[in-house]
Subunit: 349 residues, 2 copies
DNA sequence: TTGTAGGCGTTATCAA
DNA sequence: TTGATAACGCCTACAA
């Protein structure tokens, strides 16, 4: 039934060769030097005994592992699951296995995972997900990553470049600025913004870019039209409800606001739901735009004006960064978003 | 810069104690026996030297790891990412790290991953995702899992109970049968089905359940109204387009079909898009129902009649199964779906 | 309570 | 080309 584990020694004995030879035959070590005849004998023995190499022992002997650590805020969020998809694909290509942690934005859990990967001697760690402006948390994480990195581990993050490591940054400002310009070009003039949580840097960047884009066109957004809310569907719902209850949006597009920009797609969808719940029509009474171009939401009605991010590519990219030899200076790789205008913001007569 | 790795020996020397004592102090081994005074000295030394235990070495010495393998078909699919979310949460509670593979439904990659986890001596392997009727692939996978299991690894799958291991099954037939009954109760009589791929067992079960539920009410579905298509959004789109082009669905609900059941939500959404693209209205011209109750799609318009699955719970459940001591007989844990009627299938006058 | 020493399964060095 | 044998970093009887 459950005989002891078969080790390489067993295989060697079975094949009538030395341990060293068996090792060489099975993994074709550096100097490919083992007579085919013996090699086959070893392989046959290994197969016969159902030998399975112990990866932990190999890792120890070789001094390197085959693990890649990946931290995301929330794996159930389509934004992250798409990035993870890109990472797993790239990792598989690189012959690595990915160890995943979904930390729910908890700095302590992020830290714990970095420590865990450090102990696992993982080859690299990837951190996905925007930071907040919690300087302590960022510093602590940066320190942990630096410590890990100083022992030869690769590190890369997607988000803001403030962890002192290779980073894939999203051109949030530029993209939202462009979105603002396009919406303006479509005839929108009176904007409100569902700006996400206060300390959320990605949310902030998207908000700033949008506001600045408008400012460049001479349009300003007063504070009463900026609602801070959770970075989630429910946050969008509540934010929009707030706008409605403030009397900013009303039927016939006659309200003080003719378009709402939500700093991500799921918020935008929540906002749409809130609008409907309030008896308002989108885009009839108000236009709505989001950010991310989440695939699952591509069939929403009306189709959502948004900014497309190549999330899977970003995952692949950050993996390459994490795996490539470290530079003295951290590399920053900016990724552009593409504004996509759809039915949720038709031309405003 | 990159000094050699700090080992436990270094810590022991620095603390002026033996290796054994250092080991006991740091991990508080079985018999908690180490004078507080010494313990503190060791801990201080460890901290001073920035000691990080080598998990691989520990795994080898202890003879057990802390890894949990998880295979899904496609991590970018919200169905799976939700399950993964449940698994990662449960794994964290159990003090395990999860190693993820997204296999894109490729049997060879599934196998490769099981083998990989076998070599890693992972504590357990979880396989999420319905099987196909490819007997060879199923047998091969079952064998690999059995082999793994015979070495003491835990195994559990969510899907069909044909791998000979603990399984969380979805009550596909019962749920879809109930859905059929409810739709019938709402006045629908002339159904078409977007049935998914031919060999896909989950798709088949959902189709069968729906058909049987109708049959019990004296309603039959002839083959012309069953379209096989990919288990994806695009599959749903194409399937619906096919139905339309066959002249089965037309404006005013006057066509031969008054409701379409898609075997999952993303297909249903694709079908909605196709209906719209064909100038048809949902639910005006045709009702549509799906399966899964994907959260991200909960705000789709019209809101989708579907069957809710507690996906995160399923993830937690399958994790518990995988981690609990193996039984002689595989356990089968059925999970019910809950029919949720929404706007996409209003009462039919 | 602490220390000594053997072992975990491989790889790698160095002779033969 | 092959084979002893020493690491690899840690845990754990067993002995002191």
């Amino acid at each position: 039934m459950c005989r002891m584990t078969v080790t390489l020694s067993d295989v060697a004995r079975e094949a009538g060769v030395s341990l060293a030879t068996a090792s060489r035959a099975i993994n074709g070590s550096s100097n490919r030097t083992v007579r085919p005849e013996l090699r086959d004998k070893v392989l046959a023995a290994a197969h016969r005994l159902r030998y399975s190499p112990d990866a932990n022992a190999q890792a120890m002997a070789r001094g390197r592992t085959t693990a890649l650590g990946l931290v995301v805020h929330d794996i159930a969020d389509p934004y992250f699951s798409m990035i993870v998809s890109g990472v797993t694909a790239a990792a598989e290509r690189a012959g690595l296995m990915v160890t995943l942690a979904s930390t729910d934005r908890d700095p302590e859990r992020e830290l714990a995972f970095v420590d865990l990967m450090q102990r696992q001697r993982a080859r690299a760690i990837i951190v996905a997900g925007g930071r907040t402006d919690d300087a302590d948390a960022n510093t602590t994480l940066a320190d942990a990553l630096a410590e890990y990195s100083s022992h030869g581990g690769g590190v890369a993050v997607v988000g803001q470049a403030l962890l002192g490591v290779d980073t894939v940054t999203i051109e949030n400002e530029a993209s939202t600025s462009e979105l603002a310009t396009k919406l303006h070009g479509l005839g929108y003039r009176r904007f409100a913004i569902l700006a996400g949580p206060q300390g959320h840097l990605t949310a902030r960047a998207r908000f700033n870019g949008f506001r600045d884009g408008l400012a460049a066109l001479g349009v300003t957004i007063d504070d009463a039209r900026v609602v801070h809310c959770a970075f989630t569907r429910d946050g969008g719902f509540e934010g929009m409800s707030e706008l409605v209850s403030r009397g900013l949006i009303s039927a016939g597009g006659a309200g003080p606001v003719d378009a709402v920009f939500a700093v991500n797609d799921v918020m935008a969808v929540g906002a749409m739901a809130a609008a409907r719940a309030a008896g308002l029509s989108v885009p009839g009474d108000v236009g709505i735009a989001g950010f991310d171009d989440i695939i699952t939401l591509r069939d929403i009605t009306p189709s959502l004006t948004t900014i497309r991010l190549p999330l899977a590519d970003i995952g692949a990219l950050v993996t390459e960064l994490a795996l490539s030899p470290a530079r003295a200076e951290p590399r920053i790789v900016p990724v552009d978003g593409e504004v996509i205008v759809r039915d949720s913001t038709p031309r405003r007569g």
